[in-house]
């Protein structure tokens, strides 16, 4: 008898607590009329993408009344998911050159390119640490490195297998006869070890030479100097992008196309949001500044977004349509 009473009490209290939780103001707010429905947006596993997502989420929720669902992801799973299932709705910071699958999907119409979210394009290059460039200025050119490969550590830190830069760098190194010159190509197992090797080299002031890209937290925190090897050559670069390139010749990297992608269905469903995302762009200087601030202050991605939003009001005000500007008027003052 006593247990039955306790059991009943447990059930009733669970129902009460559950109702309170469901009826919390957060949920009530969402049932209010909104112009826009649910939008799912990816948050990739690197810093600049997470900042883009946080800023976009804030603008979508506060300016357009959407319910935004953030989907943690990375490039290839997100692209696959969008192409095959149409979800998530928005893909942030797709590095088109680094993903061999991207062009095919674009051509098939499985996704739509909204804008170049990093308007300057990503910078991909071969770098040496700033302290090394200072002590040995000849190492900022390829001839200098080939004259003394041991001075940069004797090896080229290359991208993991499966990244487009893996194939491109390999072909470039073959074209430059790096192996014969005494420079070994060391392929990292993951992007994490590549960036940690930079941090570790900096901690020891050890030599380092390899591939990396900007804007990233690593290049923001550890100043690096790009090595001048040669010019960009479109034909050579295209050949270098394929494993079967018969006779590779060197080409520097062009500015990398970094885009926001969406499905065609999403663009038709939420044209206002598509317009907003077409306007959300950052220059490398702006993104670099936010990332550097984030590192210095040990901030979270949300706080970095807040920093950007509070310090660049005129900039993002132009991204919004009039209705959204009205809703965010209190902030834009």
């Amino acid at each position: 008898m006593k247990f039955k009473l306790l059991g009943a009490l447990a059930v009733v209290s669970t129902i009460v607590v559950g109702t309170i939780a469901i009826m919390s103001p957060d949920m009530l707010r969402k049932t209010a009329t909104s112009d826009c429905g649910t939008v799912s947006i990816t948050e990739m596993d690197w810093a600049s993408s997470a900042v883009v997502t946080a800023v976009s989420k804030f603008l979508m929720e506060q300016g357009y009344g959407c319910e935004v669902q953030v989907v943690p992801s990375s490039t290839v799973p997100a692209l696959t998911s969008l192409a095959e299932t149409g979800e998530p709705d928005l893909l942030t910071e797709v590095w088109a050159n680094s993903t061999p699958a991207y062009e095919g999907l674009l051509a098939e119409g499985k996704l739509v390119e909204l804008t170049s979210v990093l308007s300057d394009g990503g910078v991909e290059a071969w770098w040496i640490p700033a302290y090394l460039a200072e002590s040995n200025p000849e190492l900022t050119t390829w001839e200098g490195i080939m004259a003394n490969p041991a001075a940069v550590g004797g090896k080229f830190n290359d991208c993991p297998s499966g990244w487009a830069c893996d194939i491109i760098n390999n072909n470039n190194l073959i074209a430059l006869k790096a192996e014969e010159g005494g420079l070994e190509r060391f392929q990292h197992g993951s992007g994490e070890t590549l960036q940690t090797s930079i941090a570790a080299a900096y901690a020891d002031k050890a030599p380092w030479f390899g591939y990396y890209w900007a804007p990233t937290a690593v290049l923001g925190k550890y100043p690096m100097v790009a090595v001048t090897v040669g010019e960009y050559n479109a034909e050579a670069h295209t050949c270098n992008g394929s494993v079967d390139c018969a006779d590779p010749s060197f080409s520097a990297y062009p500015a990398a196309k970094v885009v926001t992608a969406a499905s065609q269905a999403f663009v038709e469903r939420e044209p206002a949001i598509a317009e907003l995302m077409k306007n959300v762009t950052f220059t490398n200087a702006q993104m670099g500044e936010v990332l550097a601030w984030r590192l210095d202050n040990n901030a979270s991605y949300d706080e970095a977004a807040v920093y950007f939003l509070t310090n660049n009001k005129e900039l993002w005000a132009n991204w919004l349509n009039d209705e959204a500007k009205g809703k965010l008027a209190a902030l834009l003052k």
């Binding site: 957060d26 946080a54 090797s197 570790a200 040990n298 706080e303």
Partner: protein, 344 residues
């Protein structure tokens, strides 16, 4: 108005607190409040007195992010000392891995296959297991996965040997001392559950990335746990009557260990070794993320490049490798068991 203001005011610490203002960056909640769309917290949403919540009330309390930063700086500070200790200890691991990898990849395929099948025969004396291993090795070679498979096998074998060399003595020591067992068990729990990348990335600060000991340590630390646990268990489970009989015969501790306890604990120890091999194989892909060669590289490539077939094929090869080693070690174990039960 922070939630815990009253606490510091009541203690009279208001002046001390205000000496250092909270330098936290503006949070999203504050921005939403400015927008006029503050999230209304329900009445029961009192924050736990965490470091961040207390910091809002009193600027002198450090924030969690500063504690986290302190951890990082502490690690970087002890790095030189750690390096001088760990470098010589782990160098043999690098040599063993490099040597075995060289042997397994440079020797021609017929030599390696013959050697592996001979070892299988001597360990198991079972024709069916030897035929199965021959089939698996031929399958790897047939689909052009022989070299990655041999690289993975080399790494697994070295880590298995190191795990056995260190794990069995630790297990024996643990079985003799309850205090040691109480101290070691939490460490084993930690090794099995701490995400590998958490300690692997700091290790890159200690050892250069090109060194094979990085992934050797990763695999060994994860795989050594079963053999330690099962050795400890096996020896503790030895029948006390048999130990008493040993005492009655006047055996000293070393004789008891080698002649009574270890032989009787052998099934458990072999089960531990079997699990060690399985767990090493489970770590293959993570090891490849820190530059281990072998099938893991192919799996990662398949995942990153949307080449599902590549990943699947490499995965199948890993499974076959696991089954091969599992069958071999089980057959070897049952042979030892049979040999024992014949003599007893």
């Amino acid at each position: 108005m922070a939630t815990y203001d009253w606490f510091f005011n009541a203690l009279g610490l208001r002046d001390w607190c205000d000496a250092s203002t909270s330098e936290a960056p503006m949070s999203m909640a504050d921005l939403l409040a400015e927008t006029g769309n503050a999230v209304e917290e329900p009445f029961y949403a009192i924050p736990f007195p965490s470091l961040d919540a207390l910091n809002e009330a009193c600027g002198q309390i450090t924030q969690t992010r500063d504690v986290v930063k302190g951890l990082e700086e502490g690690f970087l500070a002890i790095r030189p000392a750690l390096r001088t200790i760990l470098d010589p200890i782990t160098q043999p691991l690098s040599w063993m891995l490099d040597g075995t990898l060289y042997l397994f990849t440079q020797a021609p395929w017929f030599l390696i296959m013959a050697m592996l099948l001979l070892v299988t025969w001597y360990a198991t004396r079972s024709v069916s297991v030897m035929l199965f291993n021959a089939f698996c090795l031929s399958f790897f070679a047939f689909v052009d996965h022989f070299e990655p498979a041999m690289e993975t096998l080399a790494v697994i074998l070295v880590c298995m040997v190191i795990s056995a060399i260190f794990g069995i003595p630790i297990g024996i020591a643990m079985s003799k001392s309850n205090r040691l067992q109480r101290m070691v068990i939490p460490v084993l729990d930690l090794l099995q559950t701490l995400p590998t990348f958490v300690y692997l990335i700091p290790l890159i600060f200690l050892f250069p990335i090109g060194e094979s000991r990085l992934y050797g340590i990763a695999i060994t630390l994860y795989a050594i746990v079963p053999i330690i646990r099962l050795t400890d268990l096996g020896i503790r489970l030895v029948d006390q009557d048999v130990i008493e009989a040993g005492n009655a015969f006047g055996m000293n501790a070393r004789q008891k260990l080698s002649k009574v306890e270890l032989p009787l604990a052998l099934p458990n120890i072999m089960a531990g070794l079997n699990q060690t091999i399985m767990m090493s194989l489970a770590m293959v892909v993570i090891a490849s993320m820190v530059t281990a060669p072998g099938l893991g590289v192919l799996v990662l490539r398949g995942i990153r490049n949307l080449e599902l077939g590549v990943g699947l094929m490499a995965g199948i090869c890993i499974v076959l490798l696991a089954v091969m080693l599992d069958r071999t070690s089980k057959a070897a174990l049952s042979r030892i068991d049979r040999a024992k039960s014949k003599t007893s």
